[in-house]
């Protein structure tokens, strides 16, 4: 079930006994088992676990991209657009830039989808690219970018939309160490600048250590959160 209300609530997203499975019968795959959690404004969370533990599914449920099989997801602190929450920026694991749009149009797209006028959307997109040192690539095609550049453009796309909640699904999964560190730096700087909450799913301990809270997932279950003295 999906519900939500508007209002300046500190709780941005709350999951209560969320269960998500795919398929039926012998081939059923349970991705989330009675998961309950809450993300507040400004909170920085790392969701860790092995591949297939349900990290991505949890983030997709939080983003409203997937509907739970049972349980409730609410976004008290966010404005709903239809049945999905506004103010959520998602950084995907795999390269998610649209190949038929150039870098500037890719960054501007979420703004246009949110009914921001085209001129203002483009200005904000270029400003976001400049902020991340990518201003010179505004007219480039996605296939011309390196992996790190592509992920930074994806971050610029999030930055330009100024979300209250950033969900990053394995943002450094396909990057080398140095590039991964650079991307995490940008990510943390971005959310700090926005004052946004951040949830990062990762199986990289180095990335997880840089966030305040650790949630561990195993076999679809979420263990109790651990607050770490995160070193940025």
């Amino acid at each position: 079930m999906v519900t939500g209300v508007t209002g300046p609530d500190p709780v941005l997203v709350e999951c209560r006994d969320v269960h998500r499975s795919f398929g039926r019968g012998p081939t059923e795959v349970v991705a989330l088992r009675e998961v309950s959690c809450r993300v507040n404004r400004g909170q920085h969370v790392a969701v860790t676990g092995e591949s297939g533990s349900g990290k991505s599914t949890l983030l997709h449920v939080m983003a409203g991209l997937e509907v739970p099989s049972s349980g409730v997801v609410t976004w008290p602190g966010l404005v709903l657009r239809g049945d999905r929450p506004g103010g959520v920026g998602v950084v995907f694991q795999a390269p998610s830039l649209l190949p038929m749009l150039d870098v500037a149009d890719n960054v501007a797209l979420p703004l246009l989808l949110a009914d921001v006028p085209a001129g203002a959307a483009r200005d904000r997109a270029l400003a976001a690219l400049d902020r991340l040192g990518l201003g010179g690539l505004s007219g480039a095609a996605p296939e011309e970018l390196s992996g790190g550049q592509g992920q930074r453009v994806a971050l610029a796309r999030v930055l330009a939309a100024e979300p209250a909640l950033v969900l990053a699904d394995e943002p450094t999964g396909q990057l080398d160490r140095r590039t991964a560190d650079s991307v995490v730096d940008v990510l943390l700087d971005t959310v700090d600048a926005l004052g946004a909450a951040l949830v990062v799913s990762t199986h990289d301990p180095a990335v997880a250590d840089r966030l305040d809270e650790h949630w561990s997932m195993a076999d679809g279950r979420l263990s109790a959160p651990v607050v770490s003295g995160a070193a940025r």
């Binding site: 997709h60 983003a63 991209l65 997937e66 657009r81 239809g82 999905r84 506004g86 998602v90 995907f92 795999a94 390269p95 998610s96 830039l97 649209l98 190949p99 038929m100 749009l101 150039d102 149009d105 501007a108 797209l109 979420p110 246009l112 989808l113 949110a114 009914d115 006028p117 085209a118 095609a141 996605p142 296939e143 796309r157």
Partner: protein
């Protein structure tokens, strides 16, 4: 390994395999079905050719030879069914004394006449030779024209002049028509140029005994006046193919002559008609090449586009194989295995579909007239299907291996300017097409060359080059224009897609520009498919139009009332016909005969100011002006006459020259000299024969002959010529008149030797063209977008609502649809005009304008649009259903 790979493809990529199989199968089905059309057409041409010959062989008995012995030798020849000896006698003339209208009697005398002696079994043995018009079917029979000349009917006495002997008198038992008089009175064995210009005007048919009584006394002093022929009916089981039948027939005739050892010369009427039929058969093959081959190419392009939609995925799979150690040979073997799988499945399905279509449309599932031809044609179609599958699957695999590319997970084909665009191949091809087609259509070009007396028959295949270049250049130009618009036209595109994309119009048009390789491919494939449909439909509609005009030319009008020969029916008799419900206009048409020099021609008397009210006159029937202009000139010139081009050439006429003609008198007394003025050329005229004829003013002809008799009435019934209308007209026409609706002429023309049965080919091609259009629009688009499901899933993940996500899909679809339909319609129209110009020999008469089948084209546009709408709906539904899972697709 190959089996494992193929079983995996079948289980996991069944949709892709099925789509390519359908494409291959369609190409194979079209090729094989056209083969069925060719075999069915050829077989029916041969059948019709044989059926229309009244007398298969006319064997001229040599002077001094015994006709009975010759007949016996021919009867013993293999393949002979029946023989009859026919006597021919040339006499100075015939005469008859008949009551005059005002009392007393008149004597009519003809010129030279032919008197034939027929055995009693002749009419039963050769039923197509003599057609009874009046009286009984035995006794003395007089030909229709002769009866008109002598003013005789059944029961009247005709005197036969005999040189040096008293006239012999015979009593007329019947009036007949000789439908094949030209053939009956041919000079057997003489070359084409030495044949008489026309059959004799005066013919008498006597029973054998009577003939001998009349002409035998001439044998002693004037034997040169008598001759005999043996008429032979054959039953030789000729091959279905006209060319093969022609060769077999001419061989049999020569063999028979050899057996006669000089006692007779064979006049082979069968071979003569098969000669025309093999020309028709070649035209059928030409129609296949011009109309069918592009269809097969379009099917191949469609299959290529369908297979190309999955090219990225296929290349990724092959790249993965390479990274896991597969060799070049192994990768190609897997690609070849997939190609053979879809090629074989497609070929089998295509041949089955072709056989079914052949049975339904042509009444025969055979792909050829013989077993060898059928096997060859089916093999050719299947090979073409396998070739298409190989080109679309194996070739890209080979190319990818050579470039060493490992395709990125998400990428678009890099749009680059192809080599053909840099050298301007499209412009060069179009220029070449313009030169070739212009050259062939300007001169009286003959596509099929069949010199008289030569066994070989050939086609000038260079004529195909013009339309082929037009196809090539037109298709490439469509590509260039589409690419240019997508590359440079972001603003106009944004304006164009704003109705469907709203505020996202700028981004959508930008996206179209970057995806222009895919969008261009979709638009051009659709344009080519639409061009094929439009060109085929317009050509077929024009052919049907001309066939109807030909029927109208033959019949004269919707309904024609022909008065019996010798009857005096005044123009006022048309009033009764005009009173029949449904008759809009009635136009009397005089019919006389007139000598132009020594040449007897039909003379038609018309009312030039009203003749077009009951019949349609085409501008292409006249030279020196339009139909209206020449009718107006005739109206201004009381003694004006329109003649044939042949007459102008034979007599070196110039406009304004006076002609002295001898016109048949309507009141007896023979021929009346009259002066006419040459004012223009009529090549065709309603009811006029294929030979030369004259058109003059009816009032002038009536004045100089003293007779205003009408030969026939032309009736305009608004296109309605069913049996009820015909019966109503027949009731008003009175006894003796023959009422002929247009449908009878259409049926005759549809079965004539000069026509190719287009109906089956039309149904086949228009059906495939429609399917191609819908597939090119919907299927190619759907498959292309299905390969980009991840992209659309990302758009939805970024927050796009339903309409916003649809904007990207619908925007691309709308651009493909509009460009495809517009470019396809223009290209198709140009191709249709070119085909009509190059294939002018197929039309009878040649068209002055093309016919546009708006209903079919409207249905085509609707079908294509519906296909694209369904494709968009399917893609959007698929993206909605798969949700975020689609983002994991590579």
């Amino acid at each position: 390994m190959i089996l494992v790979w193929l079983s995996g493809l079948v289980r996991r990529r069944a949709g892709r395999l099925a789509a390519v199989t359908v494409g291959v199968g369609t190409a194979v089905a079209l090729l094989a079905a056209i083969g069925t059309f060719l075999s069915a057409s050829k077989a029916s041409m041969t059948e019709r050719a044989l059926a229309r010959v009244a007398v298969d062989w006319q064997v001229q008995v040599a002077a001094g030879a015994d006709p009975a012995q010759v007949a016996g030798a021919l009867a013993a020849h293999p393949g002979t069914a029946t023989t009859d000896v026919v006597g021919f006698a040339s006499v100075p003339g015939l005469s008859a004394t008949t009551p005059a209208p005002g009392g007393g009697t008149t004597v009519q005398t003809t010129g030279a006449a032919q008197v034939l002696g027929l055995p009693s079994s002749y009419r039963a043995d050769f039923p197509g030779q003599v057609r009874i018009l009046a009286g009984g079917n035995s006794g003395v029979l007089v030909a229709q024209q002769t009866a008109a000349n002598l003013h005789v009917g059944v029961g009247d006495v005709v005197a036969v002049a005999r040189p040096g002997l008293p006239d012999a008198s015979v009593t007329v038992g019947g009036v007949v028509d000789l439908p094949q008089a030209d053939t009956l009175f041919q000079k057997v064995g003489a070359p084409a140029g030495a044949q008489p210009a026309a059959p004799p005007d005066n013919v008498l048919l006597l029973p054998e005994d009577a003939w001998h009584q009349v002409v035998d006394p001439l044998a002693a002093d004037r034997p040169e006046l008598l001759s005999s022929q043996v008429h032979v009916a054959r039953d030789a089981g000729l091959p279905a193919d006209p060319a093969a039948a022609f060769v077999a027939e001419t061989g049999a005739a020569r063999n028979a002559e050899l057996a006669l050892a000089g006692a007779g010369v064979v006049g082979d009427n069968l071979a003569a008609t098969l000669d025309a039929a093999r020309e028709d058969a070649l035209y059928a093959q030409i129609l296949f090449l011009f109309l069918g081959a592009p269809g097969a190419v379009v099917a191949g392009l469609l299959t290529t586009a369908v297979a190309g939609a999955g090219r990225e995925r296929r290349q990724r799979e092959q790249a993965l194989l390479r990274t896991r150690g597969a060799t070049h040979r192994q990768v190609l073997a897997l690609a070849l295995g997939e190609a053979v799988l879809v090629g074989a499945a497609g070929a089998a399905a295509g041949l089955a579909l072709a056989a079914l279509l052949g049975r339904l449309i042509f009444g025969s599932p055979a792909f050829g007239t013989t077993a060898a031809a059928a096997a060859g044609w089916a093999g050719l179609a299947a090979a073409a299907g396998l070739a298409v599958a190989g080109l679309t699957i194996v070739l890209p695999a080979e190319r990818a291996w050579r470039t060493g590319r490992v395709v990125a997970a998400v990428s678009l084909p890099r749009p680059s300017r192809p080599r053909w665009a840099r050298i301007g191949l499209d412009v060069l091809a179009l220029a070449g097409a313009a030169v070739l087609i212009g050259a062939t259509s300007r001169v009286g070009y003959a596509l099929v060359l069949a010199p008289e007396g030569v066994a070989a028959i050939s086609v000038d295949y260079w004529a195909f080059l013009g339309p082929a270049l037009l196809w090539l250049g037109g298709g490439l130009l469509c590509w260039r224009l589409t690419d240019l618009l997508l590359r440079r036209g972001r603003r106009p595109l944004a304006l164009a897609v704003r109705p469907v994309a709203g505020p996202l119009a700028g981004v959508v048009s930008g996206g179209l520009g970057r995806s222009r390789a895919l969008v261009t491919r979709g638009a051009v494939v659709l344009a080519v498919a639409v061009a094929f449909a439009v060109s085929t439909a317009v050509f077929n509609a024009t052919y049907e139009q001309q066939a109807l005009i030909d029927a109208q030319l033959t019949n004269g009008a919707d309904v024609t009332v022909t008065e019996p020969p010798g009857a005096h029916v005044p123009p006022s008799a048309g009033g009764a016909l005009a009173a029949v419900p449904g008759v809009r206009a009635v136009e009397p048409l005089q019919h006389r005969y007139a000598y132009v020099g020594a040449d007897l021609q039909d003379l038609f008397g018309v009312r030039p100011t009203t003749v077009a009210s009951a019949t349609s006159l085409q501008d292409s029937w006249f030279t020196g002006g339009t139909a209206d202009e020449l009718m107006a000139e005739l109206a201004r010139t009381p003694d004006g006459v329109l003649v044939s081009a042949e007459t102008v050439s034979d007599y070196q006429l110039h406009l304004g020259d006076t002609l002295q003609l001898r016109v048949q008198s309507g009141t007896g007394g023979g021929l009346i000299p009259a002066t006419f003025r040459y004012i223009g050329v009529a090549n065709e005229f309603p009811t006029a024969p294929k030979d030369s004829f004259l058109v003059a003013r009816a009032d002038y002809v009536a004045r100089i002959t003293g007779d205003d008799s009408v030969g026939s009435f032309l009736l305009d019934t608004g296109g309605r010529a069913d049996s009820a209308a015909t019966a109503a007209v027949a009731g008003a026409a009175g006894p003796g008149a023959t009422v002929t609706p247009l449908s009878a002429a259409v049926a005759t023309i549809g079965s004539s030797l000069s026509s190719v049965d287009m109906h089956g080919l039309t149904a086949l091609e228009l059906g495939f063209a429609f399917a191609f259009g819908v597939a090119a629009g919907g299927l190619v688009l759907a498959l292309g977008m299905a390969e980009r499901r991840r992209t659309f899933a990302v758009i939805r993940a970024l927050g796009a609502r339903g309409r916003q996500a649809a904007a990207f899909v619908v925007g691309e679809a709308a651009v493909v649809l509009v460009l495809g339909l517009v470019l396809g319609a223009v290209l198709g129209g140009v191709l249709a005009k070119a085909l009509v110009a190059v294939l002018s020999g197929v039309f009878d008469p040649p068209p002055s304008s093309v016919a546009v089948p708006w209903t079919y084209l409207g249905l085509l546009a609707a079908g294509v649009t519906m296909g694209i709408v369904l494709a968009c709906a399917a893609v959007l539904a698929s993206v909605r259903r798969s949700g975020v899972a689609a983002m994991r697709e590579s």
